[in-house]
Symmetry: C2
Subunit: 174 residues, 2 copies
DNA sequence: CCCGTAATCTGGACATTGTCCAGTATTGGA
DNA sequence: TCCAATACTGGACAATGTCCAGATTACGGG
């Protein structure tokens, strides 16, 4: 997608944001664009394949800078290192396969700024809602038809939600 | 809350789930109940204050086991170590202060099984939606009235979402 | 075009959060 | 009470970041 992007375009973009232009930064931007949802480590590898070498710190510094400038979005899926992507400011979410870890973009079910209206905001000033959908991708579903499914995800009476309440219940039944 | 719970109740609960009863497990269950959203490390400290000592491995093993048994829920807030809580199977979400990290429970804006219906499921079999709301808690808001707010969170034309597209735009304007 | 300074990059040490493993201790049933 | 399965311990190791001091590079001004 950005494979066809000229370096001069990236230079322009950086200058517009008052960011010094370096070979490392250009390479990292290209890497982020060409491999969405990659980790810092993966991006470092990609960059090394192009410009020979880069320090770990330069990778982290640059990604952090680009995130600050809203040129890159950092997502931190539970149980994984941070991942980075090109697609910013559109509030999209992510769908991750429990089995193989593959990650795809997903638009929000609710609207442009999804879920930003929580029932009770507890006095917080909410500015972002991050949503991660968990499931099994088509490939993994095909591989194992029915994984002896746990996780009924069904509701339980509110009175049994906490450990303490559930054990009281257990005692009665005993 | 569970401070008043008798050990024998916890024993009962574990037995019902075919889990061996040990002093470490009981202490960890108590710790999780009494300090919601604590990290493994914090729980280990709490447990040590009660039973003297426990290995890090026992803490992780037990928490993992309790999570498997649906007696404890593990949440992994972006940028933080995993946290654990008592309140399971009710699909509630979390609201985290960007400034001080305080975490509160929040019920879903949408319904009992929130957001589980994504626009396009990409063929995935979705079983859970995890939502993290980000913001500033009342205390932090009071401390700093307006933090030179960035993050407009406003929509941008779809044509400007990706780096590549935005730089093209930049070029025109040049 | 050259210079000086600020910004950036480098490489190595260090921190945090977890997992692996082999040996020892405890649990719970026979 | 005894045994086998299970759990716990302590130390090594791994992954993901951050800190820091010194070397290098970028870029605006002369
Ligand atoms: Mn994405
Ligand atoms: Mn909670
Ligand atoms: Zn998969
Ligand atoms: Zn706060």
């Amino acid at each position: 997608m950005t494979n066809t992007t000229d370096d001069s375009d990236l230079v322009l973009l950086l200058r517009r944001h008052r960011v010094q232009v370096t070979a490392q930064r250009l390479a990292i931007m290209r890497a982020v664009s060409s491999r969405p949802h990659a980790t810092a480590d993966e991006l470092a590898d990609d960059v090394r394949a192009v410009i020979g070498s880069i320090s770990r710190q330069a990778v982290y510094d640059t990604l952090g800078l680009l995130v600050d400038k809203h040129l890159v979005r950092r997502i931190q899926p539970p149980g994984s290192a941070a991942r980075f992507e090109d697609r910013v400011d559109d509030n999209h979410h992510h769908l991750i396969c429990r089995t193989c870890g593959s990650t795809v973009d997903i638009d929000c079910a609710v609207g442009a700024v999804p879920c930003l209206t929580a029932h009770d905001d507890h006095g917080f000033e909410i500015d972002e809602a991050e949503v991660v959908y968990w499931g099994r991708c088509p490939a993994c579903r095909a591989a194992t038809p029915e994984p002896a499914s746990q996780r009924p995800a069904s509701e339980r009476p509110a009175s049994e939600r906490h450990m303490s309440e559930r054990l009281a219940h257990a005692k009665e039944q005993q």
